[in-house]
Symmetry: C2
Subunit: 334 residues, 2 copies
């Protein structure tokens, strides 16, 4: 592993995105988000994804010069079309728009169609929280899990984000609806370990903790078995019908995952003019959750986003650990 | 088991609630909701809960003559106080209010504090869907599950509802965030069976499939282990801060579960004037989800709410199966 500073990574990525003909401001934003994602400890949707992102740019799956545009509006609900532009930039745009609507009307919703992978959804949760907004954000994906009761993959792991602003550290839940990502399952495989809990289906359609067997089928398991399966279906329906965009079904008909659908809902809690009370209530919940006997020695409870914020602090000070081959691959693209 | 028709049950319950001094219209609504919940196959939050509901009325936990009142409003976001009135009536009121706001502005949110148990959250999902609205509804509860990493119960199973209108049958996800309810765990105990998956913690704080051991600790397991734990925390935070009401922490300080906090968010998708397209998109998702090889012989996939709707059809035609002792208990209260 190499140790890279945020400044070094951002400078390299800025040059890289400029080379692929993004404007200066877009290259800067992309470099910022990929670097932040790595700073927050999510290398899988930070630096590790850069080579694949460049590939999708080269193939024209991500359209360098396209941007999200408003298509329709009714009050504080809007439909936008991402025009297959870069998912990160479209997501930042639509989060900003939902924040602006929320600050004006208390609440705003942007439904976005035809966008690309937003990488780490948590980024946009933090983006809204930094603007003192609550956010509920979700995206559909290609089919990568069977719906409960069937064998073939029919539902997406549909990442889901909820964020709540708080001055000592924002609360940000950022979870895919699969119990384990394929990236995490692969890490267990590389370490020669079994998963601690069921993580997907094997070739005999049995629930499995064996990473190799799950990676053969590429069939993940939804959180909560039948419950996460149903939750995934409704998130896909909401994103699809509110944006009039592609469902997981339609995305699955494409060669690559693209032209996906997302929802950005923001609420501005300061409309109630009792921020001190709200702050007390949230801190009471956090203190109550923290005040426990550890389940095992060395364990503790965290509020959502707490570990990511700790990683950001640590990595800002000490640099980010980056896989050497991935960094060399990124440099070779320059 | 007895077989009771919807008419018979509703008539009996109407008389019962009148006896406990509910007004005619409130007695009628309570009787309707408890009966509908049973018709939809959810006896645990229908007829089976009536004796406990009457107990809470007798103890003054549910205040017969109190109603939910609007406290504050900003645009299409409102805060209401349930004044510890009956949870069912408060929930119907706040769902109607969120529907009205959504039909006017596209989207409406009602945060309700100091209410009581809403029984079956799905009822209000169907209520919104029958008015052609999308609904996202949730409630906090008393602490009944440990947060991931700790031993003591700190989070609620916080039922969460998402509904989407559809003319051939509404889509309604109605799930608690526990993998199994204590009622279901008790059913396994009565049958002398183990749970098929982890359902909670035993006295040594080990994950368990043994219903008896879980019922000893009354510590349920969140769906998706650490993921549902985090989801429960953010739902509690949202309900608490938007309503300025009690959190799971505060509810846990009370002798009984009461004065809880809830959120009612409705969206009116007809603002986009493309109901035919929306209908096609939703049906494509349903058809795709249905079109699978069964995971096991006799299995199939369902869209959320499909089984409940089937139960409603079956029970409307054939009558509802009701536990004899529970029915006699209800009659004895008359």
């Amino acid at each position: 592993m190499l140790t890279i500073s945020a400044k070094e990574m951002k400078d390299v990525l800025y040059e890289l995105f400029k080379k692929y003909e993004f404007t200066e401001s877009k290259a800067n934003l992309l470099a910022e988000v990929f670097t932040q994602n790595t700073l927050y400890g999510v290398n899988s949707h930070g630096i590790n994804r850069v080579p694949y992102f460049i590939e999708t740019v080269k193939k024209g799956i991500v359209k360098v010069n396209e941007e999200a545009k408003k298509i329709e509006a009714f009050g504080n609900i809007e439909r936008w079309d991402g025009n297959q532009g870069p998912g990160i930039i479209n997501a930042v745009t639509c989060t900003n728009r939902a924040i602006a609507l929320a600050k004006k009307d208390g609440m705003g919703l942007v439904a976005l169609r035809n966008t690309n992978h937003w990488m780490r959804g948590g980024y946009y949760g933090w983006q809204a929280a930094k603007e003192n907004c609550i956010a509920i954000l979700f995206t559909n994906t290609q089919p990568n899990m069977p719906a409960w009761g069937g064998k073939e993959s029919r539902i997406g792991n549909n990442p889901f984000v909820v964020s709540i602003p708080r001055k000592e550290g924002h609360i940000v839940l950022d979870m895919a609806l699969s119990q384990f990502s394929f990236g995490k399952i692969n890490n267990y495989k590389l370490k020669g370990e079994q998963l601690p809990y069921h993580g997907g289906w094997d070739e005999d359609h049995k629930l499995s903790k064996n990473p190799e067997n799950i990676l053969k089928t590429e069939q993940g398991l939804p959180i909560g078995y039948w419950k996460g399966s149903a939750f995934s279906i409704v998130l896909d329906m909401l994103a699809t019908l509110l944006s009039a965009g592609n469902s997981t079904y339609k995305i699955g008909l494409k060669e690559h995952e693209t032209a996906i659908s997302q929802v950005y809902l923001c609420i501005y809690p300061e409309i109630f003019h009792d921020q001190d009370l709200q702050h007390t209530l949230i801190n009471e919940i956090i203190n109550y959750t923290h005040d426990v006997t550890p389940s095992e020695k060395g364990e503790r409870t965290y509020y959502p986003g707490e570990r990511a914020a700790n990683a950001e602090k640590h990595n800002s000070k000490n640099g980010m650990k980056v896989n050497k081959e991935i960094w060399q691959k990124v440099l070779s693209l320059l």
